[in-house]
């Protein structure tokens, strides 16, 4: 802050009247002025973070489908076969894969959070490396999930 205080405490003193612009500049240079995410170029860590949130929202909506499948499959032997037959259709396979992908990504990114909570990978470089590991590991798991489903 430095001389900036003079404007607040003594707004009529001479240094303030004369050096207003330089004081403004000094204050601005030390403060984050733009927190609007839509106008900032995002680093890889931001993408993995946003994907964690997107996958979470997808899963929240997907709970309805999972409960429906569980409900029907447990209702009767006929319901069980109905779910099994439906899960064989291409659309259901695609939806299952999408939900499973969201879950796997969310899980891997969540495990990274726990690792970071324990104090590992919290530096700028560590964060970038962690993000890359999350992307690679979840991509491998998502491909494996696709192999399992088809």
């Amino acid at each position: 802050m430095g001389s900036g205080y003079c404007c607040v405490l003594f707004p009529t003193t001479l240094p303030c009247a004369l050096g207003l612009s330089s004081v403004k500049k000094a204050v601005k240079s030390q403060r984050p002025v733009n927190l609007d995410l839509r106008t900032i170029k995002l680093p890889i860590t931001a993408y993995t973070s946003i994907l964690h949130r997107v996958s979470g929202v997808i899963l929240f909506v997907g709970i309805a489908l999972l409960l429906l499948a569980l409900d029907t499959s447990l209702s009767s032997p006929e319901g069980f076969e109905e779910v099994r037959a439906y899960l064989g259709s291409p659309l259901a396979k695609l939806v299952s894969w999408a939900l499973l992908s969201a879950l796997l990504y969310h899980l891997v990114a969540g495990v990274r959070h726990l690792i970071m909570d324990s104090g590992h990978g919290e530096t700028l470089e560590g964060g970038k490396l962690g993000s890359k590991i999350v992307i690679v590991v979840s991509a491998v798991l998502i491909v494996l999930a696709g192999v399992w489903i088809w």
């Binding site: 979470g56 929240f60 409960l67 409900d71 447990l74 032997p77 069980f80 899980l107």
Partner: protein
């Protein structure tokens, strides 16, 4: 200072902890179910029904359902307070955010009751 009355526990630190504890429960439940389905490719109704009828599985499932409710609320709340702001959507943000949170809360409560009905209806 911004005061929040809509978050899970009135405390960011407790929310943070609840998010982690519920996450571990959900991870265990998901990995168990996934492992079970992978290990039993030719799964039959009787086996599936027996699994979910077992007391320990009911306890595990109810625990996961409670964890899911907490986890989803903290997550959706965090997203709503980060993106549904005055800067992003204008002066009605507080109303929109409250509405969004209400819809999430009602949806999650519905999921919870539905889940309990499934677990105790079999």
């Amino acid at each position: 200072m911004v005061t929040n009355v809509t978050n899970f526990s009135r405390s960011g630190l407790y929310d943070w902890m609840a998010q982690r504890v519920s996450a571990v429960v959900l991870a265990a439940y998901f990995l168990f179910l996934l492992g079970y389905l992978i290990a039993n490719p030719g799964l039959e109704y009787s086996q599936w029904h027996a699994l979910f009828s077992a007391n320990w599985m009911r306890i595990f499932s109810l625990l996961a359902l409670v964890a899911l409710s907490v986890h989803a609320w903290v997550g959706m709340w965090t997203i709503s307070t980060d993106y549904l702001t005055n800067m992003a959507i204008g002066k009605w943000a507080t109303g929109v955010r409250f509405l969004f949170q209400a819809v999430c809360g009602i949806a999650m409560f519905t999921f919870f009751v539905w889940g309990v009905q499934i677990l105790w209806g079999i």
